[in-house]
Structures are given as C-alpha cells and as structure tokens.
C-alpha cells in the first residue's frame, strides 16, 4: 500500500450493488437480506457475483465484519448493439470499441438499449461490467389490455419490455407506452409523457 488509506466497509454498509474485494477479486452484491433471529445477532446474507468470472457465491456476514471496497476505474461509454451473447460498447473519448459478455453484465442486460450512456467498469484493462443510470426509459412491447372499471383484478400485471425483460406494472399501462424503470430495483417507476 503506497500510503493510501483504505476506508473499509462494515457489514451494515452491505446493500445490493456494493462492490467489494474478496480473495483479491472484485465481487458485486447481487442479493442481500438482513436477518435477525429473535433476540440474536444481526446477520447479513448475501449473494455475490465475481465480476471477472461471473460466478455467484453465497456468504453470510455478521455485525462488525469489514470489507475492502473494490475501487474500479470507470469509463464513460455508449452501448452500441448486441450480437449473440456479446454486448458492444464504444468509449466516448477515444471511440475505442469493447465487448462485454452477457454473464458479466448480470441484470444490467435487461436495461440496455442502443445509444444508452453507461459507465463501464475496468479491473486493470479488463471491462468487467457496467454501471447504469438509476433510471432508464424502455418501451412496453407486450402486456394485457386494461379493462376499465374492473376492480376485481390484482393491482399489477406483467409487461414485457423491448429488451425482453418482464416486470410488474400498474394495470393502466398499455402496449407501446414508454415507461421509466428504476435500474437499482428493476421495478416500474413511472409512465413517460411523450
């Protein structure tokens, strides 16, 4: 360490999307559950994805445990297109093109539309994932029509987006509409006025 002090995370900082180093490799928290058996100690159950290999592991951490943050270089890029399982991006500064595999993208692949500006995460000179804007707009390709005045039905219905991603939306959303998704939760946020 060259005099640079690392501020460690503790277990209570754990949340979805946090990036940490485990055994010298970068991992991202993909699922997180706080649990506390009656009067017992707080436990943080996590699923972590190795950002290089794409493999997931389950780990349980206790109150007070610490982690080294994975500090990854971020490069501003634009998503160009998808070809098979490969996603092509272009560096906004030097126009260099790179490819990221579907496994490395994880859930982000659900929200990538052409020309979307993202931050590509670099571990050394390897592109290992992307960071999306918190909100993206995507078009609804398929959903059941809304029957006005029908109050017997559930408060949501499934909808398929242009990326193939399926989520729950309010009943009033129609096919062809543009909606905003919160990429952190993957949930419907609002309808976009066009």
């Amino acid at each position: 360490m060259e005099g640079k002090e690392i501020v460690m995370y503790t277990a209570s900082d754990l949340r979805k999307g946090l990036k940490v180093i485990i055994d010298r490799e970068p991992y991202i928290v993909t699922a997180f559950e706080f649990s506390k058996p009656g009067k017992g100690q707080a436990l943080y159950r996590t699923k972590l994805r190795n950002m290089i290999t794409g493999l997931s592991i389950d780990r349980t951490y206790r109150e007070g445990e610490t982690f080294e943050p994975a500090s990854l270089e971020e490069r501003a890029m634009q998503f160009l297109y998808k070809e098979g399982g490969h996603y092509h991006f272009m560096d906004n500064e030097n126009y260099e093109q790179i490819i990221i595999s579907e496994e490395s993208l994880g859930d982000a692949k659900n929200f990538l539309i052409e020309n979307l500006n993202v931050k590509v995460l670099m571990f050394g000179d390897r592109a290992i994932g992307v960071e999306l804007p918190n909100f993206v707009n995507l078009r609804v390709m398929k959903t059941d029509p809304w029957v006005r005045g029908d109050t017997s039905k559930a408060d949501f219905k499934p909808a398929t987006l242009e990326t193939g991603y399926v989520l729950r939306v309010p009943p009033f959303i129609e096919e062809g509409e543009l909606i905003t998704i919160d990429t952190r939760t993957g949930e419907f946020s609002k309808r976009v006025k066009e």
Binding site: F34, G38, K39, L43, T60, G64, P170
Partner: protein, 307 residues
C-alpha cells in the same frame, strides 16, 4: 392514478390492517384485558446483547414496552395489553423496519404454556373475524390453524434439522446462523409452530425451567418460516435480573456497543411481580401473514426510504 403509486396500491392492505387492529383489541377486551399506554421515550432500554435503541435527547425511544408493562403487573394490573410503536436501531430488511408495531400482553398467574394456548386462540379468532377460516395461505404454504399447533423444543429442532447440537452451536458461535439458515425456514409450514425452551443465555428476562436449569421458559412463534412472536414465563427475581443485565452489558461492551444504565426502579419493583407470562407479537408481520405479503413494506403506509 395517484403520483404515489406504491402508496396507492397498498390501500387494500392498509384497510385490512386496520380491521386486524380492531379485532385484536376486541379479542383482548373480550377476554378481560385492559388496554394500557406506557411512554415511548424512556431513560434506557433493558440491556440486551443484540438490541440497540435509538437515542432521543439524553433518553431513548423504547425497543419494546416490556419494562413499564412489567412494573404495572408488579403493581397489581393483572391482565394488560398494549399496541404501540417501537424502535430498534439499524434493523432494516424485507422483514424488518427500524420503527414497527408491537402487540405486547401480560397475564399474572400464567406461564409460557398458557401463552402458547392464548396465541392459538388469538390468531384463530382473528382469522375467523376477517373471514379467512381455518386455513391461510402464506409464502406458498397452506397453513392449518386448527389446534393444537406444532411444538418443538430448540434441542429437538437442532437434532431434527442440523448436524450439530445446541451446545456445540453456542460454543462455536453458530447458533444464530443455524437458526436463520437451517431451522427457521422449516418452522410453521403446515401449522404454526412454537419453538420453545431456549438455552438459558438466550432468555435474559425469562424464568429458567425448574426441571432443567440450562434452558429458559421462552418460546417463539413461527408461521411459514416467519418469526411472529416471542414470549416467556417471566423472571420475577430482581437480584437475579440485575446479574443477567450485567452479563448482557458485558456482552455489549465486548461487541463495541454502548452500555445501558441499569433500570433500577424496574429492578426494585420486580420482586412484587407475581408469577406471570408476557409476550410481544409483531403486528406488521401478523399483517404480512394474513395478507400473504412478501415484504414488510407492503403492510405499512411509509417505509423510512419513502419519507
């Protein structure tokens, strides 16, 4: 459609929750209980290793109404219940809110077995009165509410569901992890289940079992793997309680947590308390069970993140 769609879509749940609260009150009043209110802001909570209070000025928001309600039982209030907000620091997850609602009740003359029977009666009557009948569906389980519910001791649960004994789990500091990963998910899947007789160190305010001093007369109630309530036969020995609180404070210190001052008034009055039993039941979680909700967020108007 309202701008606050998540709130708008919870309307049905919140209406059901209100009905549930009315029915809870009706059940207790009908059974001779008096509804009481005790202060939410107190000088200090009971020292317990893993429960942290939120400071409010130089005092704290209570983590449960336990100390005040027990002082009332000690002063001659024999059957009391309370529905109140409680606060626990840093508890947030799909089953936890740092501010939540507890139903707590005490009964002089009772013990933990009589409390278990009262739980059966309460939840059956709630299910009936909101039109659910004897079977409820929660987390994909069809749970049969007809009594008697399942009862399994902590020792048996470790034997049935894990590869190590309770004693070994405690020694290796694995008790909580095994509870969460291997035991809790199996409890209350067909019928609600009482997990009872906790290791003595896990029942800081509970009476020890006369026939086996290594366990406390404490139980937890589970439905569909979700912990709903924690009850016990009360420890009514002030001197012994003080010692146990000191041990809890030592644990807190070794975990780097703040130490809570001794609740002296409570401790001096505890000897007046007749043999009693008391229980705290999470109202939000009970609403989750009746509404088949996946997350605690679905049964409250606002989560902290939405404020």
């Amino acid at each position: 459609m309202a701008k606050n769609w998540p709130l708008a879509r919870r309307k049905k749940n919140l209406e059901e929750r209100a009905r549930l609260l009315r029915q809870i009150r009706e059940f207790f009043v009908g059974n001779g209980y008096v509804e009481v209110e005790t202060p939410h802001r107190i000088p200090a909570p009971a020292p317990e290793s893993h429960i942290d209070a939120i400071p409010s000025g130089t005092w704290f928001l209570h983590t449960s109404p336990e100390l005040c309600m027990k002082r009332m039982v000690a002063a001659g209030y024999e059957k009391i219940f309370q529905i109140c907000r409680c606060w626990r620091d840093s508890e947030r997850g799909s089953l936890h809110l740092p501010e939540f609602t507890l139903l707590e009740w005490y009964r002089a003359g009772g013990d933990y077995h009589s409390l278990m029977e009262e739980c059966e009666g309460l939840i059956q009557s709630l299910a009936r009165s909101i039109g659910l009948g004897q079977r409820i569906v929660f987390r994909g389980c069809e749970i049969d509410l007809s009594e008697p519910w399942e009862r399994i001791s902590v020792k048996e649960a470790f034997h049935d569901y894990t590869h190590i004994s309770v004693v070994e789990a405690l020694e290796r500091n694995l008790f909580d992890e095994i509870m969460v990963q291997d035991i809790e998910p199996r409890l209350g899947l067909e019928k609600p289940t009482f997990l009872y007789d906790y290791p003595a160190p896990r029942g800081a305010l509970a009476r020890l079992k006369r026939q086996d001093q290594t366990v406390a007369e404490r139980f937890e109630l589970y439905a569909g793997g979700l912990e709903l309530a924690n009850g016990f036969s009360e420890l009514v020995d002030g001197e012994e309680q003080r010692k146990r609180f000191q041990v809890e404070n030592e644990n807190r210190q070794s975990l780097g947590k703040r130490i809570y001052s001794m609740p002296d008034k409570f401790l001096s009055e505890l000897d007046d308390m007749p043999p009693s039993a008391g229980i705290a039941l999470g109202v939000d979680r009970l609403a989750m069970v009746f509404l088949n909700a996946e997350k605690i967020d679905e049964v409250v108007a606002f989560t902290p993140e939405e404020l």
